[in-house]
């Protein structure tokens, strides 16, 4: 996935580490009207102080027809539950979807998902009753949060009339914290020093994780889950409160 630079249009409620998602879920459970969303929020969220070793996680990856959620749709969703010790790939799920917007030839090449496969696929609305319970109560893990969070919010809004928002740990952001703490200095530029790549594959290779063929939703989800396990075991204590990681 591309890193598009510092985010300017993040529509999340806030972007700092003091987020109290537990409280937010409680509020939403009372406000939302659609039963699917009510179920989702009433499952609750862990406290911000919970150590990461006790947090139920779910890695998700969307393959989309393009980068902007406003005029592109989701082609497939991959999902894998995990925690600090184990990635439950045996419980991974994947859906192929018919996007609201046409599949471009370019995205066909990228995802290797064809027009005919997509035309037989269901709409997201039929998948939501399966998908949302798998996300409920868990902290989502993605590599570059704008895609999954924005696409799901936009898509759910269209189908259910209300939007959805949940805490996310962004493995790309965790890499950026380490490698983009400061911009390149004039000296670095003079030396033709390159920015360290924080793309999924490049990040994984720094932790000796094997290269995977990209743009397959389940594989990308597993790849992010592995990356987070690696990041946490190298740089964070198991007792780190989740508030330091999510946003």
């Amino acid at each position: 996935m591309l890193y598009l630079g510092p985010d300017k249009t993040d529509n999340t409620k806030q972007n700092n580490t003091s987020a109290d998602w537990q409280q937010f879920y409680q509020q939403q459970a009372a406000i939302v009207k659609h039963p699917l969303l009510q179920q989702f929020y009433s499952k609750g969220m862990i406290a911000a102080s919970t150590p990461i070793s006790r947090v139920p996680l779910v890695a998700i990856d969307f393959e989309t027809t393009g980068l902007s959620a406003a005029d592109n749709g989701i082609v497939s969703i991959g999902l894998v539950p995990f925690n600090l010790q184990r990635i439950f790939s045996s419980h991974a799920r994947q859906w192929l979807l018919k996007p609201r917007f046409a599949l471009t030839d370019n995205s066909v090449t990228v995802h290797r998902i064809t027009h005919s496969e997509v035309s037989n696929a269901p709409d997201l609305s039929t998948v939501l009753p399966d998908l949302l319970p798998l996300l409920a109560g868990k902290v989502a893990v993605v590599h570059y949060r704008q895609i999954e969070r924005n696409f799901l919010a936009a898509s759910v809004k269209v189908r259910l009339g209300e939007s959805i928002l949940f805490p996310v740990i962004d493995t790309l952001e965790l890499e950026a914290r380490l490698h983009r703490a400061r911009p390149l200095s004039w000296w670095d530029k003079l030396c033709r020093r390159q920015q360290v790549s924080i793309r999924l594959d490049a990040s994984r290779s720094r932790y000796q994780l094997p290269p995977y063929r990209p743009h397959h939703a389940v594989t990308d989800a597993i790849a992010s889950a592995e990356l987070l396990q690696a990041q946490l075991s190298h740089r964070y204590s198991p007792d780190t409160p989740v508030s330091e990681l999510w946003c």
């Binding site: 990635i87 994947q94 063929r213 397959h216 075991s233």
Partner: protein, 615 residues
Amino acid sequence: MEIEQIEILEFLKRHPPFQELPAEQLKQVALSIDIGYFKAGSEILRFNEPLHALHLIRSGAVETYRRNGDLYNRMSEGGFFGEQGLLRGAKVRFPATALEDTLIYFIPDETFQQLFDENEFFADYVQVGDSERRKTSKAGSQARADLLGATVSTLLSREPVTIGSDASVWQAAQLMTEQHVSSLLILDTEQHLAGIITDKDIRSRLVAPGLKSEIPVTDIMSANPVTIEQQQYIFEAMMLMLRHNLHHLPVLKRQQAVGVIAISDIIRFESQSSLYVVSRIFRQQTVDELQALVPDVHACFVRMVNEDANSQMIGSAMAAIGRSFKQRLLELAEAELGPPPVPYCFLALGSMARDEQLVLTDQDNALILDNRFDPKLHDDYFKQLANFVSDGLAACGYTYCTGKIMATNPQWRQPLQVWQQYFQNWISQPSAERLLHSSIFFDLDGVWGQIQWAEQLQQLVSNLAQKHPLFLASMTRNALSRTPPLGFFKDFVMEQDGKQNNILNIKRRGTAPFVDLIRIHALAIGSTESNSFSRLQQIIAAELLPKGRGEDLRDAFEVIAMTRIRHQAAALSNGEEPDNNVLPEQLSEFERKHLKEAFQVLSNAQKFLKFHFKA
């Protein structure tokens, strides 16, 4: 929709034993796998903890340990661990630590057990420490050639033609003509086999000396002939015929003759058989002609390997060929130098004497002379004889012995009584040099002349050695100076102390220490056998080792010996000079795994030896 674990599946397809599984089953395995990341240095498994999954290394490297903290194994991508624990009570037996940042695929116990029960190859590959698997591993596939897998009974096409021991040669010859056979069995009054005659016997023992055909057939028969049981393997028949230079071999079933197999029956199986090479050796008239047979010897070696012969078949076939070269050279030498002034016995030593010869071998030999030997009068003859044979052998690919263990060395060209004194001194007052001599000369075989002298020396060693614990202890200390490596890691040889080497000398680190170890046990029980497998059989029968250990040793020795043999056959096939240096990258995962286990057996046996002989 149905989910596909593309990456997991592709990984499994690249690694044994998973790659051998049917596609549908492999897909299910891929779907059952969970994953975990372990930073370098972190603990993966702790001793005696409950174990729920087979651990397959997706990337990185892992070390496993014994309970006492000794390194047990080091593995990289594609390696797996935890199988022993799963097969024995679902508890961790060998704790594991990540050596590098490591990604592990967890195959749940349930999936593992199902594969283990349903798939024989998988079970064979995974099951560790079970001698059954080391056995199957040495061939890796079914013996293809009938010659190696079939029993003698399959060669029998007709009832044997027999005659009573009261018959005359004339009656015998008539019967042979009637029945169109080239050999005839002679039965005694109780219908037991008494002897055999052949066309050649009639020609050379009756016609040539000018005897009358009315004489009893028993006068010219070969009495008490070498025989074989009908359920024995054809290769065993072949070995017997090679060993005794026979053209006809009576076959018995419960002491009754049920047929005869002729050399032609076996040669029909394959024209490049060792029997064929041996028969050609005896037809050559000069050293140059003998030398021209060397490519045939190599072809025969490669062919046996390709046909999945075991190390015993190959070792004894090559020894038989080597012995035949010596015998023919001695015949040619005597023809040139005239008959010997006093009787002598030509000895083969080392691998040829043990029937464990390969293509790459030097000539270890010696001469036992009659006690009437007088150096001033006779040594000139024997010196020339020794030189003729030694040079001839060198021409035929058996290089000169760098340690000068050859009959050309006056020290090793001595009367029987001197040899007896040598052996007594070596055993009663062992020194470093004498121990070295013991390990070479105590594997001896008489190949020509007064071979009973060789047997006398063997008997002497067998009587003396077991009465000299100090000698056995010294031999043990010597034998323990060469240890096997721990196993393999990536493209390196792993040593016991964690060091890594690029090359494995399979002889120095494998077969040689094995042979040494077996020899000491054999000496301790007074065995007069030379072949390592025959020695092991006696050691097992003597119950010297804990139950099952002897069988483990036999299988492990076979694995190591075959690795060496295959390595040399591959070199010959590629037109390269064969050697003993195995590069780890030339070994398959399968071979590495079995070699590692075989080294483990050797290492444990060395510890037992050290303890047992108080070295």
